[in-house]
């Protein structure tokens, strides 16, 4: 949708002319001239409210002073700020004196001291002294709004930024202004928790020290901190953040303003899960099994890998997660193919063929859709994604689009937190493709399918279809979603979930794709890569490689001699715990390369210490495919190194050569292969919808996905975050199924799949699709992958079980023994 250019209005502020689009507020126009008007309640991403009255200016022709944060510009307007109007200056001083009447002036013990807008503006624009001598209003303080957010009402200036954020941005209205007049205060309803995964944003936008972060209270002063800009290491939202370190230890993550990406927000995981890089299990030196794990040098480990290769047939495979950097993935892709001559490498959790090649290739080759496209969409269809839990900042963007008038539809097996702005269709897991067909073929607007179809069609190129990671598991699902988007001339994204899944795809950490989405199976595209790598034609392996699951299956069959596990824990990550364990038990040599050792240390024959996100120079590619640079904030511990350096060292030790020994030379080479290329994402031909699961002969289809806050390794040490937001494991069952199966709300159920069984507390809720049941993937008490057989959904039998208490789970092997 190409909007008409807005009308431009010219006005004068402090005698200087400025031209701005119609509708601009005076305070924004002043910013363009570099004129700073003091403000507390004003925030560019929140609706104007005029609550604090600090931004008074004189407008010629108006009887009274105007609040510049609520007054739009008009043609020929003459504005005088505190710089040229004595009246405005006096009013601002008076307002500041008023705001400070009840303020405790406890800056020396306030976390905000030194970085406080109230402190700064009182100094710059205030009268300097107060005439108020009466006793100040006092409150009990601080009160915990949640395990993460503390409220000191005495410091509050009632600007309503926090409550407006919860209303307008996150939609989680757990805090509000209670009472009126002198008794007005920010509060929470007793018995109701501030259970919002975006709660931390209220702390950051609080212009005083009223809201403070429990994990940061009394931890540091601004002048103690070493600060650096980086990118969030958690999900694929790509949030720009600032890391604060005190004596080398991370003490805080803050959002950086980035209107193309995260606006000014972070989710609470991005904000509060920052201790993992300082975990005691952090790897600092290489370790070799001998037979215990003994410290070694990189060279010794590389040499040992060489002997493992010489001793056998030298069959090597690489498994990785989604959190290395673009540079690391590129080096890995080249290492596997040029030194080990294999295409057995993968970062994905779905199978080859689940996602149409065109979609993956396009994602690897270019950026086809951005946050802006979502924000400006006329209609959005979200399929197989719980955006709040899986890509929280994309969730906020979808909400923003809805506020701007977009029609939003969600097709998912479980109701999502978009429920107040989107029409939901609950769809049994695995059956999404059929439901997408119904949308594509719908006529009229009599039902949700028809309304979705009509809205997408009406939006045309402003239609956006967002396909979540789970859609890959619905046979033909991603293809159908892409066809639907293509059919209305709209945009489409198959979403990555982890911080750099997209970078792994771009670099070709994929059994069928080389860097830039070039196909292994295509001789011409292979030759492009060969030329770029200076290799003779025909030297790259041309057979299709094994995907992640096939690598584990081959490993379990003893068909892999050396398995590289790079930033991955298949026992926890892979949707088949039993297969992952058999694989680890049957591979003779396992090289684990990671930032910390954890569970993999039991299996590792060699451990290589990698640098963490704040110790590396490199890029993450977010779900859009936008590459964003991270700069090192501190040195890696011990002799840990960036992954790409380890790969380059290994290549040299084995007599190969990756061809780069510095970041510059690496970037030069990457630029050659990873520049944007035109690849059409529209699937050719009609991809057929696979059979819906429907009759499986079992009671229910159990499905699972990771919730935002869980037992994942990157949440290590984030105790307050887990206390605030981690859900206990429950089996969510639809009321009709519960009745059929004789389950009671709050009772327990025994769930059995072919892979394992578990006894779980039951929650009956109509927010899951009929015929299905949900458990979180990795919350305390249940590693859900012990119930899975390679997919994130599985048929299960369910029966009531006696007793009460927490979840218990066993894999089949344990059941059998």
């Amino acid at each position: 949708m190409s909007a008409r250019p807005p009308e431009i209005i010219t006005l004068a502020i402090d005698g200087k002319e400025v031209a701005v689009p119609k509708g601009t507020l005076i305070i924004r126009a002043a910013e363009q001239l570099g004129i700073e008007i003091p403000r507390f309640c004003d925030h560019p991403l929140l609706d104007p409210v005029g609550a604090c009255r600090q931004c008074y200016v004189e407008v010629e022709g108006q009887r009274k002073l105007m609040t510049s944060c609520t007054t739009p510009v008009a043609p020929g307007m003459v504005v005088r700020t505190q710089n040229t109007s004595e009246q405005a200056r006096e009013a601002q001083e008076a307002v500041l004196e008023f705001l400070l009447l009840n303020h405790p002036l406890d800056c020396p013990i306030c976390d905000r001291g030194g970085e406080c807008p109230l402190q700064d503006q009182a100094l710059a624009f205030g009268p300097g002294e107060s005439r108020y001598v009466e006793p100040k209003r006092t409150f009990e303080k601080p009160i915990a709004l949640s395990p993460l957010v503390a409220l000191d009402r005495e410091r509050c200036v009632l600007c309503a930024r926090c409550t407006r954020f919860c209303d307008q941005i996150s939609g989680d209205r757990f805090i509000e202004l209670f009472d009126r007049g002198a008794a007005e205060q920010v509060s929470i309803a007793p018995g109701e928790d501030f259970r919002s995964p975006f709660s931390g944003n209220t702390i950051q936008i609080c212009p005083v020290g009223a809201l403070t972060a429990v994990p940061y209270r009394f931890v540091a002063r601004p002048f103690d901190l070493k600060t650096a800009d980086t990118v969030c290491p958690h999900c694929a939202s790509g949030c720009n953040l600032r890391v604060d370190l005190r004596r080398g230890e991370v003490v805080r993550h803050l959002a950086r303003d980035s209107y193309e990406v995260n606006d000014a927000w972070l989710c609470d995981k991005g904000r509060f899960a920052f201790r993992f890089a300082d975990a005691p299990t952090r790897l600092t030196h290489p370790l070799l099994r001998d037979p215990g794990l003994e410290p070694a040098s990189f060279g010794e480990v590389f040499a040992r890998v060489g002997t493992w290769l010489e001793d056998g047939p030298g069959r090597v495979a690489f498994l990785t997660g989604g959190r290395l950097m673009d540079e690391d993935y590129y080096a890995l892709s080249k290492l596997a193919r040029t030194v080990f001559r294999t295409n057995d490498l993968d970062h994905r959790r779905y199978r080859s063929g689940d996602v149409p090649e065109a979609v993956e290739r396009a994602a690897a080759a270019s950026v086809t859709i951005t946050y802006r496209d979502v924000e400006r969409a006329g209609a959005i269809l979200v399929v197989g994604l719980d955006a709040e839990q899986e890509l929280p900042i994309l969730h906020l963007r979808i909400r923003k689009a809805a506020r701007r008038g977009a029609a939003v539809f969600v097709l998912n097996a479980r109701r999502t937190r978009l429920h107040d702005v989107a029409e939901h269709v609950l769809c049994p897991p695995g059956a999404e493709a059929g439901f997408l067909e119904r949308i594509a073929g719908a006529r009229g607007e009599g039902d949700a399918f028809g309304r979705a179809r009509a809205a997408l069609e009406a939006a045309g190129e402003g239609a956006v279809v967002l396909a979540g990671p789970r859609l890959a598991e619905a046979a033909g699902g991603v293809g159908r979603a892409a066809s639907l988007a293509a059919g209305v001339g709209g945009r489409f994204a198959f979403l990555a979930r982890r911080a750099n899944d997209r970078g792994a795809l771009r670099a070709g950490v994929h059994p069928g794709l080389l860097p830039g989405g070039r196909r292994v199976a295509d001789a011409g595209e292979r030759a492009e890569v060969e030329r770029a790598w200076g290799l003779p034609e025909g030297s790259l392996p041309d057979g299709p490689g094994r995907d992640g699951a096939a690598i584990l299956e081959a490993a379990a069959r003893r068909e892999i001699d050396v398995l590289f596990l790079v930033g991955v824990d298949p026992l926890r990550d892979f949707p088949d715990a039993a297969l992952a364990r058999r694989a680890l038990e049957n591979v003779p040599h396992k090289v684990v390369q990671d930032i910390s050792s954890d569970a993999m240390a039991i299996y590792a024959d060699a451990l290589l210490p990698a640098a963490a996100y704040l110790e590396k120079d490199g890029h993450y590619s977010d779900w859009e495919g936008r590459g964003q640079r991270l700069r090192p904030v501190r040195a890696a511990p011990g002799i840990a190194r960036p992954d790409w350096e380890i790969f380059a060292g290994l290549a040299r030790a084995l007599g190969g050569e990756l061809g780069f020994d510095s970041l510059d030379s690496l970037h030069e080479e990457m630029g050659e292969l990873l520049g944007p290329r035109e690849v059409d994402w529209r699937p050719s031909g009609r991809s057929s919808a696979g059979p819906a699961l429907g009759e499986t002969g079992e009671d229910l289809v159990l499905f699972t996905y990771p919730l935002l806050v869980d037992e994942g390794r990157l949440s290590w040490g984030a105790a307050e975050l887990k206390e605030a937001l981690e859900e206990p494991v429950t089996l969510e069952v639809h009321p009709e199924d519960a009745e059929r199966l004789g389950l009671e709300d709050g009772g327990r159920a025994r769930v059995a799949s072919l892979a394992g069984e578990a006894t779980l507390p039951v929650r009956i809720t109509s927010t899951v699709a009929r015929g299905s049941a949900f458990v979180p993937f990795n919350n305390p008490g249940l590693a859900a992958n012990t119930l899975l057989s390679g997919r994130f959904h599985v048929p299960v039998s369910v029966a009531p079980a006696g007793g009460e208490g927490e979840a218990e789970a066993r894999g089949v092997e344990e059941v059998a023994s």
């Binding site: 209205r173 757990f174 509000e176 009472d179 309803a189 018995g191 107040d420």
Partner: protein, 189 residues
Amino acid sequence: MSVLTPELRRESEEIAARYPTRRSALMPLLYLVQSAEGWVSREGLQEVADVLGITTAEVEAVATFYTMFRLEPAGRYVVSICTNLSCALRGGKALYERAHELMGPGAEQVTEDGMLTLHEEECLGACDAAPLVQVNFANYDRVTEEGLAELIEALRRGDPPPPSRGEHPGDLKATSRLLAGLGPEGASE
């Protein structure tokens, strides 16, 4: 024990259906709770939130802002006396203090006979009739100290005199039901 009986739940739905967005039924539903309880309890706030699908905080923010909702147990008649500027100039504050004496212990909560609650009010928007006394939202204009004593006596008997305009005030439950938009029929007591 829930505040909203199945019958009241049904009526809540009827009220909510009158608005394009359910949230708009917030104030009528607070009146409905007040008509059932004679005040609005914490459970009442939570049940309104539940009916409307919003947070309790959102309900409580509204309930604590408006003085028409009694968030503590109240008598059958709430006597609101304005002590804001216009009324104060015409003896409103003295009237309020006199009412305190007349009602005796518990005047600000519930009088011993359970009949009355005294409330010091901000402006009631009737400055021309200062000093103003309101009984369950019915106005009594230019009230004198003698007139106040008679009014309170009558209220204790459950027999409010005709207000300066409009209808006789019912008790708080009945009045609240009226304000919930449900009309006088079926009013309790």
